[in-house]
């Protein structure tokens, strides 16, 4: 070990390194925000999508499902459920819950109106069209 290894220098390196990498992170974030409109499908955000996202959140869907791979791992990925199942299946599914099959995982009945379910589906459609670098690997999510 080197004879010179001082606390004050270690501290300086900590501050310098911390600030340095945070600035780098800000720079990358800045670039990301600039590139994002080409990838994030934000041109398709309609009032229905906006309302759908709110419904997604206020019913805590993320507490069981994943969306683009983030969330709980208890129920299927929904980032690509729109292409996987199609709108009609999704609507019927939400309305049909819970299945009540003994021993099976149960999804609660959220008592959404038809219009609300349409908005939720609009949100899932929007989410499925985000450029995710080809994730998930296949349609099963």
């Amino acid at each position: 070990m080197s004879a010179t290894f001082t606390k004050s220098m270690a501290r300086n390196v900590f501050y310098g390194g911390g600030v340095f990498f945070f600035l780098l992170f800000i720079a990358l974030t800045f670039d990301t925000m600039k590139v994002l409109p080409k990838r994030d499908n934000s041109q398709n955000i309609t009032p229905a999508v906006e309302h759908g996202k709110k419904l997604w959140e206020t019913n805590n869907c993320i507490g069981c499902h994943t969306l683009l791979g983030e969330g709980a791992y208890f129920a299927p990925e929904l980032g690509n459920v729109y292409p996987r199942r199609g709108p009609d299946f999704i609507k019927a599914w939400i309305k049909g819950q819970p299945t009540g099959v003994p021993g099976r995982r149960q999804m609660p009945q959220f008592n959404l109106t038809d219009a609300e379910i349409d908005d939720l589906v609009a949100f899932l459609k929007y989410a499925s069209e985000i450029n995710t670098n080809k994730w998930p690997p296949n349609i099963e999510g």
Binding site: S2, F5, T6, V13, L23, K34, V35
Partner: protein, 193 residues
């Protein structure tokens, strides 16, 4: 804790050991990125070669000379402070600092040309690496300049002595790292194809 006194133990790394941990970490990060560049290139040689030809090799080469020379100035600065010459040390380091500034200006001109041509990190894999590596390195140059500036100010106040010049060596070590990373980066990204 006694003040940092360097008795210049021949075995030890020049400067404070804390900066060396940082230097080794940085070398590791750059090393992985260099190798990642090389292997990504192997996946798509044509694209990399074609994009590589759009870079300004002359500005890359000039920048290499600029950094090498600034490193040389830093060596002279350290030699000066070892003889206790604060003022001369400050002069040499100021020279290095100015050359750092030249590097930054040339680099910014280069970046500007690329952005004007609408080239970003998302254009293709080559530009992703080119911009990532050079920008990451660019920030190290800026940080090195900040460190040099602090040492210059302290040296101007006569803050170092033949007994205590660890601070100068610490900054010098960082600057040399910035130099040799560019020495690898330049041929890798600009020249070899």
């Amino acid at each position: 804790m006694p003040p940092a006194i360097n008795i210049n133990n021949q075995d030890d790394l020049p400067g404070d050991f804390a900066i060396w941990i940082f230097i080794f970490a940085e070398m590791l990060a750059f090393g992985v990125l260099f190798v990642a560049y090389a292997f990504s290139r192997a996946q798509d040689v044509e694209l990399f070669n074609a994009s590589q030809l759009t870079l300004s090799r002359i500005s890359g080469a000039i920048n290499t000379l600029v950094l090498i020379t600034s490193s040389y100035f830093v060596v002279q600065g350290v030699a000066a402070i070892k003889r206790g010459l604060n003022k001369q040390c400050a002069h040499w380091l100021t020279g290095a600092f100015i050359l750092g500034g030249v590097f930054v200006v040339i680099k910014m001109v280069e970046f500007h040309a690329k952005f004007a041509a609408d080239i970003t990190m998302s254009t293709n894999n080559f530009y992703m690496f080119y911009l990532s590596l050079t920008f990451f390195h660019f920030m190290h140059v800026l940080m090195g300049m900040v460190i040099l500036a602090m040492i210059i100010m302290k040296a101007k106040r006569g803050g170092y002595s033949t007994q205590d010049y660890v601070g100068v060596e610490t900054g010098a070590s960082f600057w040399h790292m910035v130099d040799f990373l560019w020495i690898i980066l330049f041929p890798l990204v600009y020249i070899i194809r």
